[in-house]
């Protein structure tokens, strides 16, 4: 029985470059390699990498496009940093991303510092339940544009509607839905029926959808549930007696659910304030400071 073309191509592809090929002519190899490459590209293009090697390794290349992936964790556990990494990769590829902000937590400086092209990010302040400008007493009132105040009446409905509009428009490579609440805010709950609508919209558009939340909300409609664990911040001093500096933190992620396999795996990486300075340094699980300084982790300043 003859092997299927795909199996044959994969067999050829696995051969070492110098291995003698007796059954195929050079022309056939070239043709097959082209087909193989196209298939491989298609498969790769369905994934969106985070750019973090440890995480991509356990996710088999990244999050799946056309599905909902949720990143779950408490405030300060690295959700925004991870989402920013995905956005940075997507926008640097030339794709357009959307960030649906339900709590006004989007900080363009740090998202840009993560490598994202801000001009390719559509920001939607979907906290439309209440619109209000900052109060005069607020220290940033005179500088900031219109901002929203989280309200007890805030619901997830505008967030879901905005997500459906964006996914329905097509052409977006990644949509980040930030449902996390901040200090003084109120939790937004995504019902399962809403999650189903979101999953269907994601599937139709083919865009990657990331939901940032405090807890798992999408249930079975999430292809991936990534739970971020307790962080460990790094503080350091340039020299004894010098002012302390916040260097970054260690982030732990656990795959609570992955429909495509790999549930239960974990990854660890560091999120640094100045990652460019230490990008070339070897990764280490220990809280090594970004530069040669004395770590003062877990010490009272």
């Amino acid at each position: 029985m003859a092997a299927s073309p795909i199996a044959l191509i994969e067999t050829v592809a696995r051969l070492p470059a110098a291995a003698p090929i007796r059954t195929l002519t050079d022309r056939q190899i070239a043709e097959f390699s082209g087909v193989f490459r196209g298939r491989e590209l298609t498969r790769k293009d369905r994934r969106l990498s985070s750019g973090i090697a440890a995480l991509d390794a356990i996710l088999d290349g990244g999050i799946v496009r056309g599905r909902v992936s949720e990143i779950v964790g408490r405030p300060g556990f690295g959700r925004t940093s991870l989402a920013a990494s995905f956005v940075a990769i997507a926008t640097r590829r030339g794709e357009v991303a959307a960030w649906i902000d339900s709590a006004g937590g989007f900080d363009p400086r740090s998202i840009a510092a993560a490598g994202a092209d801000l001009s390719r990010i559509l920001w939607v302040g979907a906290d439309a339940a209440v619109h209000a400008r900052d109060s005069v007493e607020s220290p940033s009132a005179e500088f900031a544009p219109a901002r929203a105040i989280a309200s007890p009446r805030a619901s997830v409905k505008p967030v879901l509607l905005a997500a459906e509009m964006i996914l329905g428009a097509g052409g977006f490579g990644l949509v980040v839905i930030d449902l996390a609440f901040d200090i003084g805010g109120h939790a937004r709950t995504l019902t399962l029926s809403a999650a189903l609508r979101l999953a269907r919209a994601a599937e139709r558009s083919g865009a990657g959808v990331i939901v940032l939340s405090e807890r798992r909300m999408c249930g079975t409609f999430a292809a991936l549930s990534l739970v971020l664990g307790r962080i460990r911040p790094f503080f350091s001093r340039m020299a004894p007696g010098a002012p302390a500096l916040f260097d970054g933190m260690r982030v732990e992620a656990y795959v609570a659910r992955n429909k495509l396999g790999g549930s239960g795996q974990a990854a660890v990486w560091r999120a640094l304030v100045d990652s460019t300075a230490s990008a070339s340094t070897s990764p280490a699980s220990a809280p090594t400071p970004a530069f040669s300084a004395t770590p003062i982790s877990a010490s009272v300043s």
Partner: protein, 569 residues
């Protein structure tokens, strides 16, 4: 080559304009009155005269000049509306828009008449060949095989164009007739015959021959009293059709009946060729409505404005434009006016979105009194078109993106959608919102012949910060507005404890302070130009609490108050 002129005619134009605003009255007998008080004076209404009577009401015995009370007695279910110059102006502009959708040379004639020059446009409208399944179309000649092939082709196109014009006028809420001929006069007569009618070049005489004299509208078509006398005279002479009038001796008729009769004879002979005087295309699309009763609720205004916006959008689509900005003029009770502009994030023709934006604007600043008249003026913009790159990552198409932005703005507010950028400032939380207009993605120059290399390279592109290693950039999650807290210090001045509503804990590690001072400055403001910002001085701290989170705290030096304005997340 003889000129080709089309006439789009809406009969009983004031009635048609009224029915355009109240299409639900189309099947009911309708009369128009002229009264400054309108229907607001029920006692006086019964004694007002019916100025214009619809065909339906006429069939039921209602006549012009009857009082409303008599008309109501004659026709059950009679609808009475006040004549609205604003509605007629909007309808006239809509007719011009239909004409401009075919030809750039358009002249607005009397009420309900629009002329357009079709000379040389056959190729442009070739796709509009006459469809035999469409109703209402006819040509002057009965034996088309006698015409050369090219002329037959032109005639087919013109008939198709007339049919299309009828349909476009119907989309704008009116019923029209279209005539196409070599002169304005003959085109008008062809239109008065009803339906869509194209008179082939050289066949005007044949067409005019059988036309009844009534179509010249001697009594009501501007002839006035003289016209009525002229009509009676011609009737006494036994002249019933234009062909009979045309065969009279023009000098003899002129000496007996005057210049008006000579002019009519020239029309009957097809010799009168008044030039078409084109007007400039309208730059704004306005729809106006005068309300019989003042409206003071937002919901009711939504009901009134929805059809107005839909009509404006239809007009825009006919011209291949999209709504760019909306000017809303409200006439309020007490002779006050409320003018406002509604900015759109992107050109769109989605009526629901436009209505939502207008209602959002009204909700934010409600009118000071009940609204008596509404005028919506839409500034047109050309929809942006762009060619996407086959080898570049997919991007939203400009049209879909614009519509989506407008819908998002309607949902969340215009100041909640766009590109959020840091403003040029030392303060970390100062941001500004700009329009979202991503550049089209460009495929890298190094792509292979099959274009797949570029995708492969990009797909495996490494983040500049991550570099494929286990290092990422930490992001800040802003707390907006900054959350006020209380900070307890040790005797040495170090931060020891932080507490506030829904927040607090022992300080584990602390970095800082870093003082950022901003002097009084002038800042560009989109709304009001330059504005003055007060100076400020803040001390920033990065604080790790016992819950594991790292927070960015600030102490306002002016007030001494503490805030948390970000979380390292």
């Amino acid at each position: 080559m003889s000129p080709r002129i089309a006439c789009i005619l809406v009969a009983d134009f004031p009635l048609a304009a009224a029915l355009r605003q109240r299409p639900e009255l189309r099947d009911r007998p309708l009369v128009l009155i002229e009264s400054a008080a309108g229907r607001r004076d029920p006692a006086g209404l019964a004694n007002l005269e019916c100025r214009l009577v619809s065909a339906h009401a006429r069939a039921m015995g209602v006549r012009t000049g009857m009082t409303v009370a008599r008309a109501r007695a004659a026709a059950a279910g009679l609808a009475v509306m006040n004549r609205s110059p604003a509605a007629e102006a909007s309808a006239a502009e809509a007719l011009v828009d239909v004409a401009l959708s075919f030809s750039p040379l358009v002249e607005a004639g009397a009420d309900g008449e629009v002329y357009l020059d079709l000379g040389g446009l056959e190729r442009l409208h070739r796709r509009l060949r006459a469809n035999p399944h469409r109703g209402g179309a006819s040509t002057a000649g009965t034996d088309d095989s006698s015409l050369p092939t090219e002329m037959q082709d032109i005639e087919t196109i013109e008939t198709g164009l007339a049919q299309e014009a009828l349909e476009r006028v119907a989309r704008l809420g009116m019923e029209a007739a279209v005539g196409i001929a070599s002169s304005k006069e003959v085109a008008l007569l062809a239109a008065r015959c009803g339906g869509a009618r194209a008179i082939a070049a050289g066949r005007e005489e044949e067409f005019l021959n059988w036309l009844p004299l009534d179509l010249l509208r001697l009594d009501g078509g501007g002839g006035g009293r003289d016209g009525a006398e002229l009509e009676q005279t011609l009737a006494r002479w036994g002249i019933r059709r234009l062909g009979e009038l045309a065969r009279l001796d023009i000098r003899a008729v002129g000496s007996r009946l005057g210049a008006r009769a000579v002019e009519l004879m020239r029309i009957a002979r097809g010799e009168c060729r008044t030039p078409l005087i084109a007007r400039r295309a309208a730059e704004n699309f306005a729809e106006a409505v005068e309300l019989e009763w003042g409206v003071d609720s937002l919901e009711a205004m939504g009901f009134v404005m929805r059809p107005m916006i839909e009509r404006a959008v239809e007009r825009l689509e006919l011209r291949g434009m999209a709504a760019g900005e909306i000017a809303l003029a409200l006439e309020l009770d007490g002779r006050r006016r409320d003018l406002r502009r509604v900015a759109l994030p992107a050109p769109t023709n989605e009526a629901r979105t436009l209505l939502a934006l207008i209602l959002l604007n009204l909700e934010a600043a409600p009118p000071a009194a009940a609204v008596a008249a509404i005028r919506i003026t839409v500034a047109p913009r050309a929809p942006r078109a762009a060619q996407t790159d086959m080898f570049a990552p997919p991007c939203p198409t400009p049209e879909r993106l614009h519509v989506t932005l407008a819908r998002l703005a309607a949902l969340c507010g215009p100041d909640r959608v766009g590109t959020l950028m840091p403003r040029n400032s030392h303060l970390p939380d100062v941001v500004e919102l700009g329009p979202f207009a991503p550049r089209p993605a460009v495929a890298p120059a190094g792509r292979g012949a099959n274009g797949t290399t570029a995708l492969a390279d990009r797909d495996t592109a490494k983040s500049p910060v991550a570099g494929g290693a286990t290092v990422a950039q930490v992001a800040v999650r802003a707390v907006r507005p900054p959350h006020q807290i209380e900070v307890l210090r040790t005797r040495g001045g170090a931060l020891e404890f932080v507490r506030g509503a829904d927040f607090g804990g022992r300080v584990v590690s602390c970095a800082g302070p870093w003082r950022i001072a901003a002097a009084q400055s002038h800042v560009d403001d989109n709304d009001s130009g330059h504005r003055k910002t007060p100076g400020t001085a803040r001390d920033y701290y990065d604080v790790a609490l016992e819950d594991g989170g790292v927070y960015r705290l600030l102490c306002d030096q002016r007030s001494g108050e503490w805030y948390v304005d970000g979380i390292y997340d």
